[in-house]
């Protein structure tokens, strides 16, 4: 079956502009994660969605970052008024979200460059 997909694959924007990043999880996966990966750094947790539960937004670095998940499937990560330090690879992952079946599968990522 299809894996996690993300779009766009690359995004170049100017400082101060807003960007939207999209994630399509694996069909049937109720858990969805967003991470940020900077060069030479480990994956930084941003936000977690599980079914209809309130998301865990504890990893969002500032109020410029927000995310939604509509209908329990597709998710959008929005970064407002982008800054150069927002440049990174944004990865989405999904899992079945069940005990004993929590393996995360990642999408290809969106490479964001803020000029």
């Amino acid at each position: 079956g299809a894996g996690v997909s993300q779009s766009p694959s690359n995004k170049v924007t100017e400082k101060g502009k807003d960007v939207e990043l999209r994630c399509d999880p694996i069909s049937g996966h109720t858990a969805l994660y967003w991470y940020r990966q900077s060069l030479g750094q480990g994956l930084e947790f941003l936000i977690y969605f599980q079914g209809n539960s309130a998301p865990d937004k504890s990893g969002l670095p500032s109020d410029r970052f927000s995310a939604e998940r509509t209908g329990g499937s597709v998710s959008t990560l929005t970064i407002q008024r982008t800054q150069q330090e927002d440049s990174a690879v944004y990865l989405c992952a999904s899992s079945l979200g069940l005990a004993g079946q929590e393996t995360q599968y990642f999408g290809p990522g969106t490479r964001l460059l803020v000029l």
């Binding site: 996690v4 858990a31 480990g42 990865l91 929590e102 995360q104 599968y105 990522g109």
Partner: protein, 111 residues
């Protein structure tokens, strides 16, 4: 703070040799571990996982070993091939859904 670290940031091996990539984890409550492979410009790819009630798990050409006494995880790749060149990182799950990821080890396969 909690962390998942790797002993060797870069590992170079001859094609055909076995590779061993190590990872130290700090949270004794972690009950699930994953190894990922990440090629340049791509997302992390699941390789193999292991639960804390196991010491060893084998896949195709890969083996993961877990030593809970010293909080150590290793990935062994048999007969390393050029296509194995990538960054490998481990992840631990100390709670219900959050993961902690290491920064990764770059594996270079020499022809």
């Amino acid at each position: 703070g909690e962390s998942v670290g790797l002993h060797l940031p870069t590992l170079s091996v001859q094609e055909g040799d076995n590779s061993i990539i190590n990872c130290a984890y700090s949270n004794s409550a972690s009950d699930y571990f994953i190894w990922y492979k990440q090629e340049s410009g791509k997302g992390p790819q699941f390789i193999i996982d292991i639960r804390s009630n196991m010491d060893k798990r084998q896949g195709q050409r890969v083996t993961v070993l877990l030593n809970k006494t010293v909080k150590h995880l290793s990935l062994q790749i048999a007969a390393t091939q050029p296509g194995d060149s990538a960054v490998y990182f481990c992840a631990e799950k100390p709670g219900t859904y959050k993961y902690i990821f290491g920064t990764g080890t770059r594996l270079k396969v020499l022809a």
